[in-house]
């Protein structure tokens, strides 16, 4: 016999779909089938059942081989590494729950670490822009029920957030959007003809890296002022068409992604996108929302912010929290060679940092806490596999619109495996003893 667990939360992307159904064996030890999830979410649930999964911590030996060790020994190694280091970097946090993040922050405080989450390579520049000029935003529920103008700027939800469009932004029939897709106009700004752009009413195939110019031109067009013939590769008629379409809606939303945050201009691109939103509110109601990637990167920002006052790039080395992206941010710290120990949890900088930063990770004592084998575990001295969050343990997470949602445990982890939080508590208690902290 099997049983079906309903209303399961998907721990892949920031959309945090909450309508999954998962079939598990009667004893709750095996996960058999996944319904309603996208292909990526399904793979995440099913991969937890892989037969070749690593289930015990492993320490790299001098000859490059791995030696299996106990969780106690792994916690000792981690605590000693953090206690000895002068400027450890504790990076990741976006694929774990808020409870574990909070324990991690205690560890960071005791060891006077730099701590950062995956916003460093994702929406970090958005956070800077929000601190600059604020963020007129809303929840995804409001988008579903009200939005009749949807703009995707530098993001490709058809690939990165596969169910975003069907649950919230394009297809669903909401309270004031009863005709679903027919009620909405879709504008996509992207240098490629992405699968999202193929669905658009208007696609502005922008010259890569010219987002600031086009956003600025849109503000000019909204005010009906003079425009050059072509801006960022887009003819002025098309810019005016997009501006008129935005103005004529009852409720609009700009979703933006890495195309804006990672291109040249960075936080200033977002400044300008937020300014467009502000300008549009003189004609109609408009909101703007970052398309957050990891399922709990938003939660990590929240936990950092309520415990340290800043959402990422926090430096605790002086015993109090400092925040100065460019100085206290992971990539810069690694590229300058300032970090003398690397602690990674719930992310994969080995795959997603520029190689110059990864080379430095490989040169210092390092611990990688991750259920998967990754390039980060491949260059770390200690790999601690843990239970899958959102599959083998629950915990609190934040959706991309800052709505907290509790994940559900659907299946037991392999016998003897710990969760992130349990392992972090072991490290924290050992570190307290080593540092003589109360």
């Amino acid at each position: 016999m099997t049983k079906t667990v309903t209303d399961v939360i998907c721990p892949f992307c920031g959309t945090l779909c909450d309508d999954l159904e998962v079939v598990v064996s009667d004893d709750g030890k095996q996960l058999l089938e996944v319904y309603n999830a996208c292909v990526i979410g399904t793979e995440k649930f099913l991969h937890s059942q892989a037969k070749d999964r690593v289930t015990r911590p492993r320490l790299r030996q001098a000859d490059g081989t791995w030696k299996e060790i106990s969780y106690d020994e792994a916690a000792d190694y981690t605590a000693q590494m953090l206690a000895k280091a002068k400027k450890p970097l504790m990076y990741g946090w976006s694929s774990t729950n808020c409870e574990a993040q909070s324990v991690g922050n205690e560890i960071a405080e005791i060891s006077r670490a730099c701590c950062d989450n995956t916003a460093a390579v994702c929406h970090g520049t958005t956070l800077i822009a929000v601190q600059d000029i604020g963020l007129p935003t809303c929840t995804l529920g409001e988008v579903k029920n009200r939005a009749d103008r949807v703009i995707f700027w530098g993001c490709n939800p058809a690939h990165a957030h596969p169910r975003h469009m069907s649950r919230y932004s394009i297809f669903p029939r909401g309270f004031f959007t009863g005709k679903g897709q027919m009620s909405r106009k879709l504008i996509v700004i992207d240098p490629r003809v992405t699968d999202t752009a193929k669905m658009a009413d208007v696609h502005l195939q922008i010259e890569q890296g010219k987002d600031y110019e086009l956003l600025n031109a849109l503000r000019v067009a909204l005010k009906g002022e003079w425009l050059p013939d072509v801006v960022a590769g887009i003819p002025k008629e098309k810019i005016r068409e997009a501006a008129d379409m935005m103005k004529s809606g009852r409720f609009g939303i700009i979703f933006f992604g890495m195309g804006v945050t990672q291109s040249i201009g960075k936080n200033h691109n977002i400044d300008e996108a937020i300014a467009v939103t502000k300008d549009l509110n003189e004609y109609t109601k408009f909101s703007i929302m970052p398309m957050r990637g990891h399922y709990n990167v938003t939660g990590s920002g929240e936990v950092f912010a309520w415990q340290f006052g800043f959402p990422y790039s926090v430096d605790l080395t002086r015993g109090f929290a400092r925040y100065n992206p460019g100085d206290t941010s992971s990539i810069d710290l690694l590229n300058r060679g300032e970090v003398d120990a690397m602690f990674t949890i719930g992310s994969d900088p080995g795959a997603h940092f520029p190689i110059s930063a990864v080379k430095h990770i490989a040169n210092v004592p390092s611990v990688c806490i991750d259920p998967h084998l990754t390039p980060t575990s491949g260059v770390s001295k200690l790999h601690v596999p843990v239970a899958f969050n959102g599959v083998e343990t629950g915990g609190n997470c934040y959706r991309m619109d800052n709505v907290p949602i509790d994940c559900r445990k659907v299946v037991e982890p392999p016998a003897g495996m710990l969760t992130d939080e349990q392992f972090l508590v072991m490290v924290r208690d050992r570190l307290k003893k080593l540092k003589g902290a109360a």
Binding site: F12, C38, V39, I40, E43, K44, H47, D63, G64, T65, A120, V121, G124, T125, I128, N156, H159, P162, P191, R192, V193, T194, D195, A197, Q205, Q208, G209, M258, Q262, S263, I264, K266, N267, G293, P325, G326, D327, S329, I331, D332, N335, D348, G350, A351, H352, P354, I355, S356, A357, V358, K359, I361, A362, N363, H372, L373, T374, P375, G378, V379
Partner: protein, 135 residues
């Protein structure tokens, strides 16, 4: 037929990349999904490369071998796309311009045909570049 061409490189997610990272980054599927460069047909012609030819991509920041395939979300002449992962990150511009964010999109790269060079697996590629001793 040029021996090498210069294009503007961007990286980003694809659904195949998403499935591959959740399915296991040690598996060959990760290389199939991300050890590629999506190029416009026009650029492939300029380079004189067949589809699915191994190419060397070089920037001021590094070099990597990937498979050149025809753009799946094109046309985008002059722009090439490597899905996010260690292959793209071997060549992207790490400069953050004091924002903390590397310039993952918009790195000028040279592409040349490297038909006999192997494309490494994800973890292997990073370990090799970092000089990690593997037992």
């Amino acid at each position: 037929m040029a021996k090498e061409i210069t294009v503007n490189l961007i990286s980003g997610r694809t659904i195949q990349q998403g499935v591959a990272i959740e399915g296991g980054k040690e598996k060959p599927l990760y290389r199939t999904a991300c050890g590629i460069i999506e190029m416009d047909n026009e650029d492939l012609k300029k380079l004189g490369a067949w589809k699915s030819t191994n190419v060397r991509v070089t920037s001021d920041h590094g070099s990597v071998i990937v498979k050149a395939i025809e753009a799946t979300q094109g046309p985008h002449p002059g722009v090439a796309f490597i899905p996010m992962g260690p292959w793209a990150n071997s060549v992207v511009d790490p400069n953050t311009y004091s924002t903390g964010m590397p310039t993952f999109k918009g790195t000028p790269v040279k592409i040349e045909v490297a038909i006999n060079e192997p494309i490494l697996l994800g973890i292997e590629l990073v370990q090799k570049q970092c000089g990690v001793k593997v037992g």
